[in-house]
Structure formats: C-alpha cells, structure tokens
C-alpha cells in the first residue's frame, strides 16, 4: 500500500472507530468483544483498502463486525463462557455510571436473538434502509423485515414492562 493510501486508511480508522465500537456494543452488549470485532474488521479492511469502493467501506466493516458477533453468539458461547480461575483482564464499564434507562435497554436488547438484535441496531440506530441492512447481514429483504418487526415487538413489550413512562404513549 502506498504511503498516501495508508494515511487515508489511518484517517478512516480514527474517524470510524468510536461509531463502530458503539455499533458492536449494541449488537453484543460487551465493549471488549465489540472492540475485538472492530479491530478484526479494520485489519481485513486494510487488505482491500487499495481497491476499495469509497461508499462500500462502511457497509464492509459493519458486515464484518456484525457477522463476527453473530457468529460468536451462534458457535462460540462455550468458548466465551468457560469457567476459569483467572479474572478477565479487560475493561468493564462501571455499572453505577450507567443510567437506569441504559440498563433497561441493554437488558431488553440482550433478550433478542442475535440476528434480530443486529437488524434492530442497523435499522433503528444506524438508520440503514431495509436493502442496505440485508446487504450488511447477507440475508434477504424479507428476513430483515420480519426480524425487524419481531425485534421491535419484543423490545416494545419488554420496555413497556420496565419503563412504562417511556413507551406507553409511544406510537409506531
């Protein structure tokens, strides 16, 4: 990669890292795993940076992050949750600093199946269209629609229970 391309890559990473970490966190509820997935995505992006299409980079890294986290959910729970004598060496957010609302929404998100959760985050936090969401998750438009509808419905039910003041008067 030429020096100017690498400089552009570094700029891109610096500009996107926070947003992508937040995206990953909303998809999995764990800042450390989100960060790992984002780092993996950037490393892969480096390999294709020279022949990238400028408007496809965001979709590309989002897809890698989402798939890494979905895949981890699907196949690797035993790896993540194996018992150990050692305390994990990782940064954990201070729960006391989190608002009650944050705890409620993250608990509710955690109840969603992984793909539904990713659809909800992509559609309603990232504001992606149904088509772009389908591209990121490599699934059909129909799946995005149905998973999004299910996810919203479940969230609505959960949040109505835990935060009635926030959602009872809300409309679709």
């Amino acid at each position: 990669m030429r020096a100017e391309q690498e400089a552009e890559f570094r700029k891109y990473v610096a500009a996107r890292v926070d947003r992508l970490r937040r995206f990953g966190y909303l998809c999995c509820g764990d800042w450390q795993r989100a960060e790992d997935a984002v780092q993996t995505a950037f490393i892969k992006l480096y390999g294709v940076w020279a022949r990238r299409s400028s408007d496809a980079c965001d979709a590309y890294v989002r897809r890698i992050v989402a798939n890494a986290l979905i895949d981890e959910h699907r196949r690797g729970w035993f790896r993540r949750e194996r018992a150990s004598d050692r305390l994990p060496d990782r940064t954990v957010p201070d729960a006391s600093a989190a608002s009650v609302e944050t705890l409620h929404i993250m608990n509710a998100l955690a109840r969603l199946p992984n793909r539904q959760r990713a659809v909800v985050v992509l559609r309603y936090w990232e504001d992606l269209s149904i088509e772009r969401t389908a591209e990121v998750l490599n699934c059909s438009i129909g799946t995005v629609k149905s998973q999004g509808a299910r996810g919203l419905r479940t969230l609505r039910a959960l949040l109505s229970d835990s935060m009635p003041e926030r959602t009872l008067g809300a409309t679709s």
């Binding site: 970490r21 780092q39 509808a149 039910a157």
Partner: protein, 369 residues
C-alpha cells in the same frame, strides 16, 4: 417507538469506556495478513500447476486410441434424464439452501396458471401485495396491494413461478469477505421452481456477486384492507433433489437445512442469550397418503418467545409426488402484522390451514424438469 428507540440506543452506547484499539497495531497486523495471503496464493498456485500437470499426464495415458477405420462408431444412445440426486452430506455438517439465478420458462408458466386457477376458485377476494411505498403498516414497513390473484391469467412480475438455480451451501466453509468466492461453498446444484414476487437480485456490495434472490409472495387473503399479509412460498424440487424426513437441527422454524424440506417434528427449546428465557418450538406433524399415491407430510410449527408469549406460526405441507418430485408449500403471517398472543392458531396465524395447503399442493400438476 422507533424515534424513542434510536434515542435510547444512542444514550446506551454513549457511555463507552476508553478504547485500547491502536491504529499502528491494526496497520501492522493488516500488513502481516496481506503478506501471509500473498504467500498462500503463490503456494496454492504452484500446487495447482503441479496438480494440473499430474492430472494431464494421467488423463493422456488413459485416453483410448482412435478407432480403426473399419470399426462401426457406436450409435448415439438417447440422452438419459438429468440426475439431480443429492450427494452424501457430512452428518456433522451444516448445509443451507440458496436460491440463485432465476429464469422464466414454459414449465413455470404452467405452474403459475395452476396456482392462479386455484386462487380464482378458492380465494377470489385474495390480493397479491408487493413491498412498495404506497402504504405503511403498523411497524413502518411499506407495502402496496397490486391486484386480485384471481385476475392473473398469465405470468407477470408480481405473482409467478420461476425456475431457479437451487444450491446447497456448506455453511461451515468460512467465506473470505475480502474475496468472497461463493461458488466454493456450493456442494450441490439443481433446478427448482419457486413462487416469485418480483424481488430484486441481491448482490454483494463489494464484489457484485449474486448472493441469492427473494422468493415467495405476500398475499392478503382477506382482500384489500385486510389486517394481515401472509408469506406464501411454493417450491417444486426435482426427483432426488432433496432429503425426505425432517431436519433435526434445533433451530428456529422456517429454515430447514441439510437437504431437508421441512424442519420438525421434535419439540425443543432454543436457549436464550445471556440467560434469557429463549423460545419454545413445537411441531404438530402428520403423514397421510394422497389420492394418487402421493406421500404427504403436514407440519404446524409454532415458535413461542417465553418472555412474552408472542408466537410465530408456520404451516408447511410437503407432497412427495408419484414422479419423484417434491412440492413444498408454506404459509405464515408476515411482517408488520400484530402478533398473536398465545397459540398462533387464532387471528394472526396462517390464513391457510394444513388442509387447505394440502389442497393447494395437490392442485399443482406434474411437470417435467
């Protein structure tokens, strides 16, 4: 709700701990990765050349010599019918169906005519819908009614049966997202006829490669103004191009894999994430014989979220026909409709019950692939 949700998600992810992601490390590991891939490609190419050479030598030495002039050339035999038999699949593997290229042909038109004739006689009020900008349902999805199903007399883009290239994908093969080689995951290819609603070709954002196509059609069985759309799927598999029985994978309903046409019939729980209650999946399966010796399997699948009792219902009928083809029809209430609390059998459940789905399946004529 969605605006509130966006704000809540925004707040929830604002309080991030400082990150340890270092751009220098990313660049260094990115360079190493590129270098490793380069070495692997060179090594792979060298091996390929050696393999091709070896195969060429072996093939050349086994080629028969040219026939002598006085020998009578063999008479060309009639072309045997194509063999669509599935290969043996690794019992521990994970294989998923994928619908690829779509074309229109006379057989598809014949199947379309049979379906529209069925609806004209049984559901003259039903309308085929298409996702579009004209109306918005309770969850913000756009759709528009198009026209009465009963009025459809010839194939057109909103309700027709098409011939697809049906693939079985090895889902365990890791896809390199930098250079997605989708074909490397295909373990089986055969034609299949499927209902189509005009969905666009889906392509990979990076490579432009086709990654599948939408199938099925949203139907308002109660006509315009109906408060429910159903996702109707119809698929006709060639002889040998499927596995009988059901997929034992303990997963969500509606996505049979490993060469099967239907999941079930073993009830099971799907574990929830983070200790959540998960879902309960139940099946009601039945087997019966058709009027012409068809073997019919009916499956009523229900997936219930234990947290709130919401249920997704999916009715499936599989008919193994006398010519060895398999017709699969499924019906489920689709997106945007209010979910039914409880069994999923009441309002909000599939519009077509198992008896009617069976009747629909038996109305589809035998055709040749």
């Amino acid at each position: 709700m969605t605006e509130d949700l966006k704000i809540m998600l925004d707040h929830a992810s604002e309080q991030s701990p400082p990150h340890a992601l270092d751009t220098d490390t990313v660049v260094k590991r990115g360079r190493n990765r590129v270098r490793r891939r380069g070495l692997a490609l060179v090594g792979g190419a060298a091996l390929s050349v050696a393999a091709v050479t070896a195969v060429s030598v072996a093939v050349a030495s086994s080629l028969p010599t040219a026939p002598k002039a006085e020998e009578t050339p063999p008479v060309a035999a009639a072309e045997p019918p194509p063999d669509y038999t599935l290969p043996d699949l690794d019992p521990d593997g994970r294989f998923e169906w994928n619908s690829a290229e779509r074309t229109d042909d006379a057989t598809g038109a014949q199947l379309t005519a049979a379906l529209t004739a069925y609806f004209a006689g049984h559901h003259p009020e039903a309308k085929v819908a298409r996702w579009g900008p004209e109306k918005t349902d309770v969850n913000g999805n756009n759709f528009s009614y198009v026209r009465n199903l009963a009025e459809l007399t010839e194939p057109q883009s909103t309700f027709q049966v098409s011939r697809y290239t049906n693939q079985l994908i090895d889902a365990e093969v890791e896809l390199d997202l930098e250079n997605p080689d989708l074909e490397s995951r295909v373990v089986y290819t055969a034609p299949v006829y499927r209902l189509w609603n005009g969905g666009e070709l889906r392509t990979d954002v990076d490579t432009g490669a086709t990654i599948g196509r939408a199938t099925g059609a949203p139907i308002a069985f109660d006509g315009e103004g109906a408060d429910q759309l159903d996702d109707l799927q119809v698929a006709l598999f060639p002889p040998g191009g499927y596995r009988t029985g059901h997929d034992a994978t303990k997963d969500s309903i509606g996505d049979p894999g490993n060469g099967h046409l239907v999941e079930g019939c073993d009830d099971h729980d799907v574990k929830g994430h983070h200790g959540g209650p998960g879902t309960e999946v139940t099946y009601r399966c039945d087997e019966l014989a058709g009027p012409n010796g068809e073997r019919i399997t009916t499956v009523a699948a229900r997936e219930t979220y234990k947290q709130d009792g919401t249920t997704l219902a999916l009715n499936t009928v599989v008919v193994i026909r006398t010519d060895g083809t398999a017709l699969v029809v499924t019906d489920s209430p689709t997106t945007g409709m209010e979910w039914t609390q409880g069994s999923g059998d009441g309002p909000g459940g599939p519009a077509l019950d198992l008896d009617e789905l069976t009747e629909l399946a038996l109305a589809v004529p035998l055709v040749s692939f």
